[in-house]
């Protein structure tokens, strides 16, 4: 026999009331924690791909579109730029290095990106099979692409023009798969990689012979050597059709826009949590009123005022610890369900189901407020007039 056991049994006596408090708190905590988890997943994914890319050089247009198209490969490119112009920027003294990107074709919806070996090196890609691309029309396939399309080392395929559909297939140029990448959690998983000459080669065969100085690429991922690059590069390219965009700033803008929706959800979740605290308060207080005689009875058997306070505090504590724990479980189930829904674009790993520091804070606060909600009736229990309570109910 101990206080915890009595508190547990007391909660069990009022199953509906207990269940209501638990469910409310679990959903409140669960919703807030699910928001935290998805936010973490999104920013992690963004950060992983943005890694060490200070500036993106591309055709004029929406800077956000430039970033989305060339860093995340989710939007259409803003257009093409001349390689000669781009090289001037890449050779600028303030720029440490640049990775050129060129594209315009796809294979079954996955983008074929022409670049240099620097691109795979940048994301720390590892080869599951085969070797890096060297010559034109040699292709290295991302893990997700290989999984979905079944492409393996030694396979051949034709590309389709454009980034999405497969209506306009270039049947005259054959690609050879020379390597398959390990999964890296970066955009490489979703891409087919080759050298830039390959991209040019696909379209040259169409009788549109292009002069060397007019060759075009889509964008360059730049790493700066000098912080001033951010200020000076835009000036040097003002007269061209090019622009530079800062991934960190554009993604910030994007997540801030997301943030409005997140904020609304968070407010709703907090509201649910407040209701659940009220429910815990009512639950414990109702128990106090219904069991005043029982509490007085404990006093006659040697129970102290502190003991009664402790009992009610434990009842509130059990409710809030249970609710918070259930909430964290619910949010993880929710995240897994979400991941199943948008499997193609969003990958979770089991590590991401670990409890975040913010979630510990959330759970701690939920438990604390739950205890406070129970402490108020607890104090009433301490002040209970034993003699009067016993006389009244006799």
């Amino acid at each position: 026999m101990n206080w915890l056991y009595i508190a547990w049994r007391n909660l069990g006596l009022k199953k509906l009331q207990t269940a209501l408090s638990l469910v409310l708190l679990a959903f409140g905590v669960g919703l807030v924690s699910l928001l935290m988890l998805t936010e973490k997943q999104l920013t992690d994914t963004f950060d992983r791909n943005i890694r060490d890319i200070d500036l993106v050089l591309g055709a004029k247009g929406s800077p956000l579109q430039l970033i989305l198209a060339n860093v995340y490969h989710v939007d259409a490119p803003t257009g093409n730029i001349r390689l000669a112009d781009a090289e001037k920027v890449m050779n600028h003294p303030y720029i440490a290095s640049g990775i050129p990107l060129a594209y315009g074709d796809n294979y079954r919806g996955f983008r074929i990106v022409g670049s240099t070996p620097d691109y795979t090196a940048h994301y720390g890609a590892e080869w599951a099979k085969g070797k890096p691309f060297e010559n034109a029309f040699e292709v290295v396939v991302g893990a997700r692409v290989a999984e979905t399309t079944g492409l393996q080392v030694g396979d051949e395929f034709f590309s389709a023009h454009g980034l999405q559909d497969e209506t306009d297939v270039h049947t005259d140029k054959t690609f050879y798969v020379v390597g398959v990448l390990e999964e890296s959690g970066s955009v490489l998983d979703q891409l087919l990689l080759c050298n830039i000459e390959t991209i040019w080669g696909v379209h040259e065969g169409h009788g549109e012979e292009v002069a060397l100085e007019d060759r075009e690429i889509t964008a360059v991922l730049l790493k700066k050597r000098n912080p001033l690059a951010v200020l000076t590069i835009p000036n040097t390219i003002r007269e061209t059709n090019m622009q530079v965009a800062l991934p960190s700033i554009e993604i910030n803008r994007l997540t801030q826009n997301f943030g409005i929706g997140m904020g609304t959800l968070r407010a709703i979740a907090l509201l649910i949590m407040c209701i659940s605290f009220a429910s815990i308060f009512i639950s414990v207080y109702d128990n106090l009123l219904a069991r005043r005689y029982e509490l007085a009875l404990m006093r006659t058997m040697g129970g102290s005022r502190g003991g009664l306070f402790w009992l009610l505090l434990l009842e509130g504590g059990l409710l809030s610890v249970g609710g918070a724990a259930l909430g964290l479980i619910i949010s993880r189930l929710g995240l897994i369900a979400l991941a199943q829904l948008i499997e193609d674009k969003f990958r979770y790993d089991w590590n991401s189901l670990a409890v975040l520091p913010n979630e510990w804070v959330l759970a701690g606060m939920a438990i604390f407020v739950g205890l406070v909600a129970a402490a108020i009736p607890g104090i009433s229990a301490m002040k209970l007039d034993t003699s009067r309570t016993l006389s009244e109910s006799a």
Partner: protein, 217 residues
């Protein structure tokens, strides 16, 4: 065992002041406190076990003057020395009959002897109800559990508050006999507080509480 000397009490400074006759009771004795409703019976019972503090006079229980104890000590003293049988038996509803019997030991910080608890329930003929919830028991069974709970921790004094007022003659006889026998067996002093005149002739030692004892301040 019990000594009340010139005890007076008032609920607040405006309330009428109540005076109580002196009460003396030896160890293992059985005492009847008889009085009409409004005569301050319950007040005296609460004074005896330290749930109320007298305005004047002295109460000595088992060699301890209650006034010298602070509240926490009083709680402990009450838990160890008294077993109280209430008119209507109240229990911790969420706990089983046997778990309710464990409460006095738990609240006194002592280990509960479950075997002794079962034996006592058997003796009272309700052993088969040990794992039932109290509210599933009949009124008569509940009263016997109430008696068991008052005796399980072998208190020095058993206080019974109107144990028979709701019972017919036959049940009254049964309950009182049971109380007397159990208290005697446990070596406890028995104090019965009641307005039930049927019990009047049963006890040689009785104190009658007079409503006129209440006088205005």
């Amino acid at each position: 065992m019990i000594h009340c000397r010139s005890v007076e009490f008032h609920y607040n400074s405006e309330a009428p002041r109540m005076t109580f006759p002196d009460v003396h009771c030896a160890e293992r004795d059985q005492l009847l406190l008889l009085g009409q409703s409004g005569s301050g019976k319950t007040t005296l019972l609460h004074l005896l076990c330290g749930m109320l503090q007298p305005a004047a006079g002295e109460i000595e229980i088992n060699g301890q003057i209650l006034r010298q104890l602070n509240e926490r000590e009083l709680d402990q003293f009450r838990g160890r020395n008294f077993g109280i049988v209430f008119q209507k038996s109240h229990f911790i509803q969420s706990l089983t009959v046997l778990e309710n019997l464990a409460m006095p030991a738990f609240l006194a910080g002592e280990k509960f002897d479950a075997a002794a608890g079962r034996a006592l329930l058997d003796q009272l003929g309700i052993g088969h109800k040990a794992t039932e919830r109290p509210r599933n028991l009949s009124i008569g069974e509940q009263q016997r559990v109430g008696i068991a709970r008052a005796l399980i921790h072998r208190p020095a004094i058993v206080l019974a508050d109107e144990p028979t007022s709701a019972l017919d003659d036959e049940s009254t006889e049964a309950v009182i006999s049971l109380l007397e026998a159990q208290a005697a067996e446990a070596g406890a002093t028995l104090v019965i507080v009641t307005h039930d005149q049927r019990l009047k002739d049963r006890y040689a030692r009785r104190v009658e509480l007079n409503p006129l004892a209440i006088r205005t301040a």
